[in-house]
Symmetry: C2
Subunit: 337 residues, 2 copies
């Protein structure tokens, strides 16, 4: 059994040639911009090897096939497809969120304009389906169907995320539902798609999908805790980063919904215009912590990880691959909080 970082490294090496071959099919401009986005070339076109991201989703997809006793090659088109869908959503989300940098490099829309990010994102989404369906496998159709449904949920999550910015109030359920769409849906599809391509029984596929879904939501809960209380040296983001944008993240929604004077104060602060001061950020972080937002989010993440691990342990899976899936989930979620 390999460790999670070794597993991620192996997954990156396994999928990159197939991912590059897929991207090579695109028109000249979309190919160039996608290759830049994936960290393979500089903006000018020179070969490079910038950070391509952790490739968690392809690793889940490859292990998903191994866990049902199939060789990982069976899952390769699925691993490439989930990575393409993930990057379609990054290209479009960076534009919609106005993010100018990703992994310390300028984003595609910032370099080449909004139309480029729209079209290159569109191209990656269509390509994901093409990669799956080109296999000619009898299981390609259910895998492609899973991916299309997942994309619908992913879009729903982003729609909710943008809508919440315009609202003064969100419930915890709405926030969890948004995280399930934005993060859980594609993690779930990734953990299931290898088994779907391998033709595994429905109950096994469902257990793997549940695992990915719960790991995804647990990841988001921890990520949101780090977005308020994370150490900048560890997260790479400014201290209190999510509070600076007055984001209604999961710990905030919990504190908000507790009601009482703390909830009222937080609600008023969330709708206050302007850039908050450092002193103010410390005070609001303390307020959310006092209202139980931090403890709740961490307990909820732990509860979901336990559900995820129970689902995996209850399914008929090959022990070595199952253990790697468990290790990968913990590696993704358990960060220094």
């Amino acid at each position: 059994m390999s460790t999670a970082p070794a597993c991620l490294g192996h997954s990156r090496v396994t999928i990159t040639p197939a991912l590059r071959a897929a991207v090579d099919r695109l028109d000249h401009r979309s190919r160039h911009q996608a290759a830049y986005h994936f960290g393979w070339i500089t903006a000018g076109g020179a070969p490079t090897s910038a950070d391509s991201g952790k490739a968690v989703r392809p690793a889940l997809a490859l292990l998903s096939a191994e866990a049902v006793g199939a060789p990982p090659e069976v899952a390769l088109p699925g691993a490439v497809a989930v990575e393409l869908v993930h990057n379609f959503s990054l290209l479009h989300d960076d534009l919609m969120d106005g993010d100018e940098e990703r992994r310390h490099r300028r984003t595609v829309w910032k370099l080449w304009g909004p139309s480029s990010a729209i079209l290159t994102g569109d191209a990656l989404l269509a390509l994901a389906q093409e990669v799956l369906l080109d296999t000619g496998l009898p299981t390609a159709a259910p895998a492609a169907r899973l991916l299309a449904r997942t994309t619908r949920h992913l879009i729903r999550g982003q729609v909710q995320d943008l809508a919440f910015e315009q609202r003064s109030y969100v419930t915890v359920e709405e926030c969890i539902d948004m995280a399930a769409g934005k993060t859980g849906a594609l993690m779930s599809a990734s953990a299931a798609i290898g088994a779907v391509l391998a033709g595994a029984p429905e109950a096994t596929v469902d257990a793997l999908a549940l695992y990915g879904d719960q790991v995804g939501v647990a990841f988001q809960l921890v990520d949101d805790v780090l977005g308020i209380w994370g150490d900048p040296a560890v997260t790479g983001k400014p201290v209190h980063s999510d509070l600076r944008s007055r984001k209604k993240s999961l710990p905030v929604s919990h504190a908000l919904n507790r009601g009482g004077p703390l909830g009222d104060e937080l609600a008023a602060w969330l709708t206050t215009p302007g850039e908050p001061h450092e002193e103010e950020l410390r005070r609001v972080a303390g307020l959310i912590e006092t209202a139980g937002g931090r403890d709740w989010a961490l307990a909820e993440a732990a509860r979901r990880m336990a559900l995820a691990e129970d689902a995996l342990r209850g399914a008929e899976l090959h022990a070595a691959a199952r253990d790697e899936l468990l290790a990968l989930g913990r590696f993704v979620v358990d960060r220094e909080v």
Copy 2:
């Protein structure tokens, strides 16, 4: 045999319930914006029946199944899917092109902002695949594969279209290739997808695909002639509309590539900044006509229609449906020029 307008009306009536059922699966916001875009509701949400477009692509898809002896129901998910992909491209193109109106109503990005047009477009693209793959038909996978490949070509066409705006010169071949991507690809897939869903032999599918492709390019050639010389009362666009934006359309690219003093004059004019005057537009339209741009485009459209009709006549198809396909193609292309 019904006439082309009756066939289009029948197609619209046939697909609308299935199209609405598909759109109903989307999240609340994407559903609302898609329903507005399709002309089913007002921006405020009241039921209406605004112009939904001609529905040429669904009509081709339904006839495509009938032409190979299958009931049109077999093609229904294909007809819905091509209409969804067409409208995905309209939502994104309207945003990229900055078009504020479509069919005399404000566009989605103009009403609800760029993010809405991006996400609702994304949602329709994913939904197209879901509608096909949900059928569970053994032919759904090749149909979905055709649609994914087609989307790649459609995006290539839009990438070229935007790139040409930045260039001072394009060849006729590049212009034709762009039209084949932007217009031909989805018309081709529409004319073939019913036969694919019906499990027709490859040669028959290829003949139908060729028909749609050539009708699409012929349509674009005629559309570009109307964009310069069309009667505003017929086209609904201002006179010389494509010249106002100094668009390198097909007749322009022909005149440009003829070389000589006319070509040089046109090349210089295309790169002149500013809004052209009415007198100037008349002079340039005359210049393109003298250089043979108009005659060439109409002859090329006629040549492609002949190729299209030969392909259809050479295939093993049911006579009544084939004749309706022929009538539909002519109806789409033969407008008052």
